[in-house]
Symmetry: C2
Subunit: 363 residues, 2 copies
């Protein structure tokens, strides 16, 4: 089996001698804790990306002077592949994820990578580790491509060496016990990102910066943070590590990509579906005050987040400056549910993929 | 010799069996490239800092899922120690650096560390590696304490495990060929930090975010970026990775610590000296327009950056929206030179340390 796997872009494949798959309890998958047998790796040095390899997942050595430990020059993507049947696994929107990956690279002074190598690496990994793709509805193979600076020099400047890896991990159903609408609070003194910074790219430092505000929101009893813009603390940007959407009347309103909001892939899917279904769709600035006004006049129908992990995440409660919006706290709204069903039906190959979102891999 | 070294806080010391000091050309020291024989390490797990050790500088293993590679949860300090005579090495303001280190930890959800362990680690490292402290005027032992998240879990939340290391590196004279006033340009569309973000702490992501703007400034022929505030692009924040100061008439004006500016240790020293010398000292908002006005009316005497690497770095040229301020491009101003002389005289023990800035270590 292993020896039959051929990569179209000449990735050298070193198959594992012993699979670790027996260590995994597929009925109790914890997010991002167990990793499939193989990983992809390609190094950048002397101005070019070197030979790509796929090899057993494993540790590597770094020195204490490794650039990434000090200056955070690193980008990543988060995406998923879905079990369709015994012959097919669907990767969800790999081209869109790869576009964003390169966009992140450009902002962070990291050399871009080719889509050919990216998709070949994903296909080859999935064929090699197809038994790691969980089969139950709601489960998926999480895919994490990432690149980090690997010079060993303390100078605070862009590295000359980089390491590009892709690891995969079987993940459980996000909504194993049904949707649970989340509760949000606007942070009192923290902001996630500002136009001109790095909020619109998937770089390491954005996440570490959000840990404290997220922790403080949890301590106050809320699930996540509702981020407002840095300049005026007025316009809504994101929710936790997801994008956010508002259904007001028959209009789906999504904060526009202003330069500090992450351009989410699921965000794009939600917007495309809303248009397809005939809703009015607006990508624009939306203030927290406008949301409260719509709530008060009864036109605020639904609020939900969108992201790779949960697909959609309904919002049941929003707290801002002591005032509260309370929506359905037990179940998602009709629109959020419809988005969730449609996207997951496409992901698992249960419904025709009219948008060309899935990339099927024959296993 | 090695066996006589006793740590006051029970740091276990594993001395190297073979020094690498012969690999170093002390006449051609490159910043942050060669590291002394020993390093400090302490790990955090199960809610507490574990036993501290000093051991030979060397590599360690990480997995591709290591938290710091993905989410950038990491903080550091940059400080220096100076050769005084065959019996003494001076560490510059270790308490102030450690205060800021803990301040950074709090913002980044990293557990704080004790000053006792910190200073004991520094003293023990300096005694063990005293031959690595370069002796020439202008040279120093650069000290890099840092802490990074070391969980191996892809969940985007604060790590439960951390690694705290201190490495040291002999560095050459910053001004081996004399002061060279730098040229600055304000970035057209980038900002360094915003109030509510992480600009006032030394965390990894701040540095990666500045690489592209710094590169673009270099491409335009300028040495460094002059950062303006994120909200209005009007008030001056920092220069490159240093703080900035303006001597206007007899007043030293330094941008106030508004929450997005790094509280520099050398910045504090410069302000203390200016007060001691009887200058008017103002820590407040200063707009780029105010600086241009002072230039035009002749009251702008000097502009200079301050930081651990260069102590002071005179500014010879500032470009903003096509307009230019041109000061002395050949040599530093009188005030900047006086600050440089006074601070370095104290660092090398050539002058009485009336401020209690240096921490002498008997070697």
């Amino acid at each position: 089996m292993m020896n039959e796997i051929i990569s179209s872009t000449n990735i050298t494949v070193h198959p594992t001698e012993e699979s670790r798959i027996h260590e995994v309890d597929f009925n109790n998958l914890v997010f991002g804790k167990k990793f499939s047998d193989h990983m992809f790796e390609m190094k950048f040095s002397e101005g070019v990306w070197q030979e790509p390899v796929i090899k057993p997942f494993g540790t590597f050595e770094v020195t204490p002077a490794s650039n990434v430990l000090h200056y955070g020059q690193a980008v990543f993507e988060g995406m998923k592949a879905f079990y369709v049947d015994e012959n097919t696994v669907n990767i969800y929107r790999p081209e869109t994820h790869h576009e964003r990956f390169n966009h992140s690279c450009r902002r962070m002074c990291i050399p871009e990578t080719s889509y050919e190598t990216f998709i070949d690496a994903l296909e080859t990994l999935i064929r090699l580790d197809h038994q790691w793709v969980p089969k139950k509805n709601g489960t998926a193979l999480y895919i994490r491509p990432f690149i980090f600076a690997s010079d060993n020099l303390l100078a605070a400047r862009s590295s000359d060496k980089f390491t590009y890896q892709i690891i995969t991990s079987p993940v459980g159903a996000y909504y194993a016990e049904g949707f649970n609408p989340v509760s949000l609070t606007t942070p009192e003194k923290y902001v996630r990102a500002v136009v001109g910074g790095t909020g619109n790219v998937k770089t390491a430092g954005n996440y570490a910066a959000s840990f404290l505000p997220a922790q403080k929101a949890k301590e106050k009893g809320f699930t996540q943070v509702l981020w407002l813009d840095a300049k005026e603390q007025k316009y809504i940007e994101e929710v936790g590590t997801m994008n956010i959407h508002f259904l007001i009347g028959d209009t789906l309103i999504t904060p526009g990509l202003n330069g500090s909001i992450l351009p989410g892939v699921t965000r794009r899917s939600v917007i495309a579906l809303a248009k397809e279904w005939g809703y009015n769709v607006e990508e624009r600035k939306i203030s927290i005050d406008e949301v409260f006004e719509a709530y008060e006049d009864g036109s605020l129908k639904e609020v939900f987040g969108s992201g790779t992990a949960a697909v959609v995440s309904p919002v049941g409660l929003i707290e801002h400056n002591g005032k509260t919006i309370e929506l359905d706290r037990e179940k998602p709204g009709e629109f959020a549910q419809k988005c969730f069903d449609e996207i997951t039906d496409i992901q698992y190959g249960r419904k025709e993929d009219q948008f060309g979102w899935v990339h099927p891999v024959s296993i």
